[in-house]
């Protein structure tokens, strides 16, 4: 992988089924709103050897009209919502600070968990993200420092501690430790 400036990474990786699924979803999503991919997929993207059945994506808050356009296009491209049946239900759920999950018709795995940002650090991600350019597409992901802080100091499961350690190792020459400490203070409140 190669950093191009501070906010872009060129990654010459081989495409997995998980990547294909995500790229299909993102190509639709990015026409309707800003997004940032967070959590487990970020670690997997940079080599962590584990599977996941869901990918977490934060999207900038949309009003119902704009959300309806996004939902309609997702449906036209074969996606459906696992945990709500109608537009009203889906929008109601995401507006109530809950996540909504989208998968391809007739499947549940993999799926994408979409939510609006709730906390200040989550809102900050829309200004402080990384762009990853791969041979099969371009995506926006959380900055690495916030992922490490969130996994190590909030989630704290074995899997999350391992994800944090992997990211810290892989990015050790690029990580801003002061930034991790600042995020730690924010997320531990």
């Amino acid at each position: 992988m190669q950093f191009i400036g501070k906010r872009t990474i060129k990654l010459d990786k081989v495409k997995t089924e998980l990547d294909s699924f995500l790229i299909d979803f993102i190509r639709i999503l990015e026409k309707h709103t800003k997004y940032v991919i967070i959590s487990g997929y970020v670690s997997i993207l940079f080599g962590r050897t584990r599977g996941t059945e869901d990918i977490d994506v934060l999207i900038e808050r949309l009003d119902k009209g704009k959300f309806s356009n996004l939902y309609g296009e997702l449906k036209r491209h074969g996606f459906y919502c696992l945990n709500a049946k109608t537009l009203d239900d889906v929008f109601g759920q995401i507006s109530e600070k809950l996540a909504v999950r989208f998968a391809k018709e007739r499947s549940v795995i993999p799926n994408i968990e979409v939510k609006f940002p709730k906390t200040a650090p989550e809102k900050e991600l829309f200004k402080d993200y990384l762009t990853v350019i791969m041979p099969f597409g371009k995506i926006k992901i959380s900055n690495i420092e916030q992922q490490i802080a969130f996994k190590r100091y909030v989630l704290k499961s074995e899997k999350d501690m391992e994800d944090a350690r992997h990211l810290e190792n892989v990015f050790r020459e690029h990580i801003d430790k002061g930034k991790i400490a600042r995020y730690r203070k924010l997320v531990e409140i």
Binding site: K13, V14, T16, E17, L18, T49, N83, V108, N111
Partner: protein, 63 residues
């Protein structure tokens, strides 16, 4: 024989460090080809489970 959780964790962390070093020192194509085998096989095997959305959401504690 008792399961030594601490030792198991140390060994897992050692593997994490070794693999991260491999990722850092080998081409993206190299490590991602190996990773692809694991990720694709997990997704393919999950397709045979025939879960309904309700089964899945119950498993996640969301229903």
């Amino acid at each position: 024989m008792m399961f030594d959780k601490k030792k198991n964790m140390e060994e897992r962390m050692k593997f994490i460090d070794l693999w991260a070093e491999y990722v850092r020192t080998h081409s993206d194509r190299d490590w991602s080809s190996q990773q692809k085998v694991l990720i694709d096989s997990l997704i393919q095997s999950s397709r045979s489970w025939k879960w309904t959305p309700e089964d899945y959401l119950r498993m996640k504690g969301e229903l």
